[in-house]
């Protein structure tokens, strides 16, 4: 399957989903007006990946500085798909937040409580 790469803009995050290099990452900021439309290719990619996982272990990184509420729901969907995938292969979610960013840390905590899977919350400089 093909890798997915979406470049960051002022309002949308960078997305890297690549099973060859082993990079699975959503970073920068996410505040699109139409979050559903933006995340659709991500859902498709994970769906396809999950049908026949080409690797038996992944580490999925969220390194966001900000997301709006419309994106929150889409991120929840991504996480639920990863939870499902973790029944087939080893999946670890790594939720990064910048030192002192209480909001981003509590978002990570919230998600980690909702999910039954490996979930690491990491402070970064």
């Amino acid at each position: 399957m093909e890798a997915l790469f979406i470049k960051a803009t002022d309002e949308t995050p960078e997305i890297t989903l690549n099973h060859v290099t082993g990079e699975y990452c959503i970073s920068h900021r996410s505040l699109p007006e139409n979050a559903i439309g933006f995340y659709a290719p991500v859902f498709d990619w994970i769906e396809k990946f999950s049908q026949n996982p080409p690797v038996d272990e992944i580490s999925f990184i969220f390194n966001l500085e900000y997301f709006n509420t419309a994106s929150a729901k889409q991120i929840a969907k991504v996480l639920l798909m990863l939870e499902k995938l973790s029944e087939k292969i080893d999946v670890t979610v790594v939720w990064k937040y910048k030192k002192d960013d209480v909001d981003m840390m509590s978002s990570g905590l919230r998600f980690s409580k909702l999910l039954n899977m490996e979930f690491e919350i990491q402070e970064v400089e």
């Binding site: 699109p32 007006e33 559903i36 900000y66 509420t69 729901k73 002192d100 209480v102 909001d103 919230r110």
Partner: protein, 373 residues
């Protein structure tokens, strides 16, 4: 004034301010430090708004180039050499409004009093020259090479006069014995060749007094869409706001408040790209007060006020649980709505959301909202 009183006063003033400005269709005021980034964002914001109202490309170009000169003037001269620290009440101001079928552009910045006679002389000279003579004068200065260390020699002023086809109106106002405000105004008629006869700069002086007194950093009145939202955000991001976490909160709350309007706002004119709205931020002590005002369809007023009251009545864990339930409720999940915006505003600000409705007519109402951080 006490924070509570001040914020309530602002909430009710929102509608009046909007009604007053709405007739003029567009207007915003920025007050603060001018940097390249902030200047770029103000330009982009204007471009977006001129586009939204379908302005002709000729007028757009003129407004744009005059703004560039005007903003560069403020940026260059905002810190006079004799002034070590610019006090907040000495920050520059930039105002664009549409009035009398013209775009009215005004800037205000601090100048040293000793520079005033030369400045006056220059402005009078420019105002006394006709189109061709202006062009000659421009060339002459370029050839002389007498460019000042701040990079200007009145070229910007000449450009403004040439592009606007109008006089440069100006005024000064005492700050202390060393410095004054310098107000510079010009107008671009929508009917290109029309001359604007006279301008009352007292209005602008008065407005400047108000925004100084209320400590308002930004007033935006215009069409709000995702693009103008992004530009407004970068204006705020470019501000030197103390603590990083406060700045971040301000950013987060702005996104939710403004995206609410982009998604749920109503408009009177269907041809507009974006929803008419007013947005202003002021600072009271260590607090920031964010106000929005926009039209909504009258039939959603009841549901919306119930929702706001409900969210306001929740505290701590209840609020958190409500957020989580909504987050996982995928029945409410479409391009218009995630059902989380208001809860998020309440959680992130740590304050209740103040609101007020005014009926405009059967179909349309006006909502003012205020969030304090």
């Amino acid at each position: 004034m006490h924070l509570e009183e001040k914020s309530l006063e602002q909430l009710t003033n929102g509608f009046k301010l909007f009604e007053g400005m709405q007739k003029d269709n567009l207007g915003y005021i920025y007050r603060g430090l001018f940097t390249q980034n902030i200047t770029d964002s103000i330009l982009a914001l204007t471009e977006n708004n001129l586009e939204s109202v379908g302005e002709s490309s000729k007028v757009k170009k003129r407004v744009f180039s005059i703004m560039v000169e005007c903003l560069q003037n403020v940026t260059r001269h905002q810190t006079p050499e004799s002034v070590e620290v610019v006090e907040p009440e000495q920050s520059g101001i930039f105002v664009i409004q549409t009035k009398n079928n013209a775009y009215q552009i005004t800037s205000g910045n601090v100048v040293e009093k000793k520079a005033i006679p030369h400045l006056k002389q220059l402005l009078e000279k420019i105002n006394g020259l006709e189109k061709d003579a202006l062009k000659e004068y421009y060339k002459q200065i370029l050839e002389d090479g007498s460019i000042s260390d701040k990079g200007g020699a009145g070229l910007g002023l000449i450009e403004m006069a040439r592009k606007s086809g109008n006089k440069l109106y100006y005024d000064f106002k005492d700050i202390n014995k060393e410095i004054s405000y310098f107000y510079l105004h010009t107008a671009i008629s929508k009917e290109l060749e029309e001359q604007i006869e006279s301008v009352d700069l007292n209005n602008i002086k008065h407005l400047h007094d108000i925004v100084n007194k209320e400590n308002i950093m930004l007033i935006f009145n215009g069409c709000l869409n995702q693009d103008s939202l992004i530009n407004l955000l970068s204006i705020i991001e470019g501000q030197s706001i103390g603590a990083v976490d406060i700045k971040k909160k301000l950013f987060n709350i702005m996104v939710e408040m403004l995206q609410n309007i982009v998604k749920h706002g109503a408009k009177k004119d269907e041809n507009m790209v974006g929803n008419p709205a007013i947005f202003f931020i002021s600072q009271v002590g260590n607090n920031y007060i964010l106000n929005t005002g926009n039209y909504i369809e009258s039939h959603i007023v009841d549901t919306l006020s119930e929702k706001l009251d409900h969210v306001n009545s929740l505290e701590g864990d209840e609020l958190d649980n409500f957020y989580t339930r909504r987050l996982l409720n995928f029945d409410i999940d479409n391009s218009k709505e995630a059902g989380l915006g208001i809860i998020d505003l309440r959680i992130k600000s740590g304050n209740k959301i103040l609101y007020n409705f005014e009926t405009v007519n059967e179909k349309i109402s006006f909502i003012s909202m205020q969030v304090k951080i």
